[in-house]
């Protein structure tokens, strides 16, 4: 059973806003970016009017919410300290999908193991930041705002948009209607793609009328009104653009990572003018009964990435894609009494791409030299961001994340 934590839903919720306000983070207006919604038809139009040149690198960022237990993902199975810390929930050396003499992947990650063999997988180890925070909210904010020291009200990819000269509205695209903090800048935000197809509306004309702006609106009223405006757009799309390229049938709005990534693949193949896509998956907060739960989750991640690569196969843009998966923290080295693990610190980052330098990057932190029971980070997560900004998005990292941390050279 998953522990009751998946911060995706409340991300722009009232409770969430209350917390953020309390800690001085993120203005509500930024998160309530209702105008950023777009439909599949917007993507098809943009792809025909302003296609992304083949050969342009594309970032696909996968956020794993809840704090993935990286020690049971990229497993130091030959390290006795690992088994000592986790009686009953460790993986033996014969169970893992071997990567080298010491480490192997969780048995749920079969496709990732073959990507490792074919040199398409890079793994950064011991990624974190100084003075780790073990709150889901706060640590995810730190990763998403790229500001470990002080709360910021913009996300790192939002700031990338703020500083880029290309004004294409779909340059950054979040799959799903709710924008995570990382996609919100001071001046611009990612567009938010909803893929759901809708039938006839009982009050179609009324909703179109309710969707119009009104000078007496409060911010909250404007937000509600804009949701009706989007209904109108979607209906127009269905009627007007029946002949356009439609989304593949297997894509549903079930919110699964697989659906999100297949949507991304469809956008990329179509030539959407998008340099960066954000997708997410939740449920990684495994305080209890972790092994079964995490294996299911990792299998889902593994399958989604494999199907994404299959969907991209044969496209000239397949080798343009850099897919990166991270989580807000790893988990405690020592298991708890519920065959689960509590919130920890440093973790790994998975990079899947034809452009990655394959293999491990950085050192696995010691399992015995710990900081209050937790791993000591061996590299700063902003070194990854600096690399992605430079090598994938072609941007200067300095105005986005500062110059404190140098780029890690994980890409070719």
């Amino acid at each position: 059973m998953n522990a009751p934590y998946d911060p995706r839903l409340p991300l722009d919720g009232l409770t969430r806003r209350g917390f953020l306000r309390a800690s001085g983070v993120v203005s509500a207006a930024a998160l309530l970016a209702g105008s950023a919604g777009c439909s599949w038809s917007d993507v098809t139009k943009a792809a025909s009017q302003n296609p992304l040149p083949t050969g342009t690198p594309i970032l696909v960022l996968v956020t794993l919410y809840g704090g993935n237990d990286w020690l049971n993902t990229v497993i130091p199975a030959a390290d006795p300290a690992y088994h000592d810390a986790r009686p009953g929930m460790s993986y033996g050396h014969e169970e893992v999908l071997a990567l080298d003499d010491v480490s192997g992947l969780n048995p749920g990650l079969k496709n990732m193991a073959s990507l490792w063999s074919s040199k398409k997988l890079g793994i950064m180890r011991g990624v974190g930041y100084a003075h780790p925070d073990r709150s889901h909210f706060r640590s995810m904010d730190i990763w998403q705002t790229a500001s470990p020291s002080a709360p910021l009200n913009t996300g790192w990819l939002g700031r990338w948009l703020d500083h880029v000269s290309d004004q294409e509205p779909l340059l950054g695209l979040n799959i799903g209607p709710v924008l995570p903090v990382l996609a919100v800048g001071a001046q611009r935000t990612f567009a938010a793609l909803s893929v759901k197809e809708r039938g006839a509306d009982p009050l179609a004309a009324v909703m179109a009328a309710l969707g119009k702006p009104d000078s007496t609106d409060t911010a909250a009223e404007r937000m509600v009104a804009s949701s009706y405006a989007a209904v109108g757009r979607v209906r127009d799309d269905v009627v007007t653009h029946m002949s356009e390229v439609s989304l593949p049938d297997e894509i549903t709005d079930d919110g699964s990572l697989k659906s999100q990534l297949l949507t991304v693949a469809a956008c990329i193949r179509l030539g959407a003018p998008t340099r960066c896509y954000t997708v997410s998956m939740g449920g990684f907060d495994t305080h209890a009964g972790e092994k079964a739960t995490q294996t299911l989750l990792l299998t889902g991640l593994d399958t989604a990435i494999a199907e994404f690569r299959t969907a991209m196969a044969g496209s000239p843009r397949a080798s343009d894609v850099v897919l990166v998966a991270y989580s807000e923290f790893g988990r405690r080295v020592m298991a708890n009494a519920s065959e689960g693990t509590d919130h920890g610190t440093a973790g790994d980052v998975l990079i899947v791409s034809d452009r990655v330098k394959p293999g491990f990057h950085g050192d696995q932190p010691s399992l015995t030299d710990l900081d209050a029971g937790d791993l000591k980070a061996s590299q700063d997560f902003r070194s990854l961001y600096a690399e992605l900004l430079t090598s994938v998005l072609g941007a200067d990292p300095a105005p986005v994340i500062g110059t404190e941390v140098a780029a890690s050279h994980v890409l070719v």
């Binding site: 009751p4 409340p10 009232l14 709710v178 009324v206 309710l210 009223e221």
Partner: protein, 420 residues
């Protein structure tokens, strides 16, 4: 009134008139409620555990029994919300449910969720200290946050962390990682039996002493709560969270906050806090910033339209809530339901429109249809306790002229009604 209660009508507002203080006092004080008397909670038979060797069918049968009880429980509460004559009590209990968000999806025992619900209802307007002390040993919350698995050999920090981060102090509320760890140790040894009985096992308890927020003690759950609630950040955090639940999506000003904290006082009086929010001079000015959650909207609409809480009506209502993503007893996670933008997605808009049409079809709209054509829109505004409609909504209502069902449905989904 629209923010504090589930569904008020213009007639309700007229009755209260200018004397809001009396209304708030009356709403928060105990009193007879025939609607509550008519909707007693269900009783749940114990569902025996299946053995380790149970077959697939046996397990499926048990799962079905567990889910059926959960269905019964959420239907009961929605029925109660619609039927209560004093809806503020249920509205506040629902807000506490959102604060101490616990889900049947993991607890899997409707009887324990009901027990927690009754605790939130009976203690929700008493001392927050007493409420928190009872909740840290509440079996549903304990199962939800793995507390029954927290032992000295391997502490599980889930309950201790959320107790500080979400329930009492908030992120940045002046506690450290070490306070979380020490609190987890202080909460070791508590167990929940299969029948929901909570007991303490000295063998599994950390001998202590622990130091939490500067206080060193051999803590019991009760003294631990006392130490946490003594933190200076607690009153401001709780007042802010409640302000967001009742008054506004915007943070309270320092002035407002100090008034609320003063009312809450050293006795941690929840009723005084809630009353202070509803009567604060800034409360009225803060209108127009909260989007009604699906439960508030649906229950409010059913009450306003005087739809009876029949099983058929409530079941249809729950189906709508499921589509809108808010079924009581099933919050998505321990921080409660989202709000604001999440309730105003395009998908929600179409679901709400269909539901509003259905509700208006079921309602007795003679009040509207008997009004003259020129006064119908005023009649709808009065029914829904709205002062007036915005020009945009008037345009939309004009499309529905002459059709009372469509007129009411349009008003129910208008930003004017959804934003409180």
């Amino acid at each position: 009134m629209r923010r504090a209660a589930f569904g008020v009508t213009g007639a309700d507002v007229d009755r209260v008139g200018a004397d809001v203080e009396t209304w708030v006092a009356g709403a928060l004080n105990p009193g007879a409620d025939p609607g509550v008397d008519a909707t007693p909670p269900p009783t749940f038979a114990a569902i025996p555990a299946v053995g380790a060797n149970a077959g697939r069918e046996e397990r499926q049968a048990r799962n079905k029994a567990v889910n059926d009880q959960g269905d019964q429980l959420s239907l009961w509460w929605l029925t109660r919300m619609v039927a209560a004559h004093r809806p503020v009590r249920e509205r506040l209990t629902f807000a506490w449910h959102n604060h101490w968000a616990t889900s049947l999806s993991k607890v899997r025992q409707a009887s324990l969720m009901l027990k927690q619900n009754e605790l939130l209802r009976s203690q929700g307007l008493g001392s927050f200290t007493t409420l928190a002390q009872q909740l840290v040993v509440d079996p549903a919350l304990m199962i939800w946050l793995d507390a029954e698995k927290n032992t000295k050999a391997a502490p599980n920090e889930n309950l201790a962390r959320e107790l500080m981060e979400l329930f009492c102090l908030g992120v940045g509320g002046g506690y450290t990682e070490d306070d979380v760890k020490q609190s987890a140790r202080a909460l070791t040894g508590w167990r929940v039996a299969a029948d929901g009985t909570v007991s303490h096992d000295a063998q599994r308890t950390d001998p202590g002493p622990e130091t939490v927020l500067g206080v060193t003690d051999h803590f019991t759950p009760q003294t631990l709560v006392g130490a946490i609630l003594a933190a200076p950040t607690h009153p401001r955090y709780l007042a802010t969270r409640w302000w967001h639940q009742l008054a506004s999506g915007d943070a309270p000003s320092d002035d407002v906050l100090s008034r609320l904290v003063a009312a809450y006082g050293p006795s941690r009086d929840s009723k005084a806090l809630i009353s202070a929010i509803l009567l604060d001079p800034a409360f009225d000015a803060a209108a127009g910033t909260l989007v009604a959650s699906p439960v508030e909207w649906l229950v409010g609409a059913m009450r306003t339209l005087a739809l009876p809480a029949t099983p058929a009506n409530v079941q249809q209502g729950r189906a709508v809530l499921r589509m809108l993503g808010q079924v009581p007893f099933y919050p998505p996670n321990v921080s409660g339901w989202p709000s604001g933008a999440s309730w105003s997605s395009t998908a929600a808009a179409t679901t709400r429109a269909a539901a509003a049409t259905k509700l208006a079809t079921l309602a007795d709209l003679s009040q509207i249809s008997s009004a003259t054509a020129s006064s119908r829109i005023d009649a709808v505004a009065h029914l829904l306790a709205l002062d007036h409609f915005s020009p945009r909504t008037l345009d939309a209502l004009a499309l529905a002229k002459g059709k009372p069902v469509q007129l009411v449905a349009t008003a129910l989904i208008s930003p004017d009604y959804l934003v409180v």
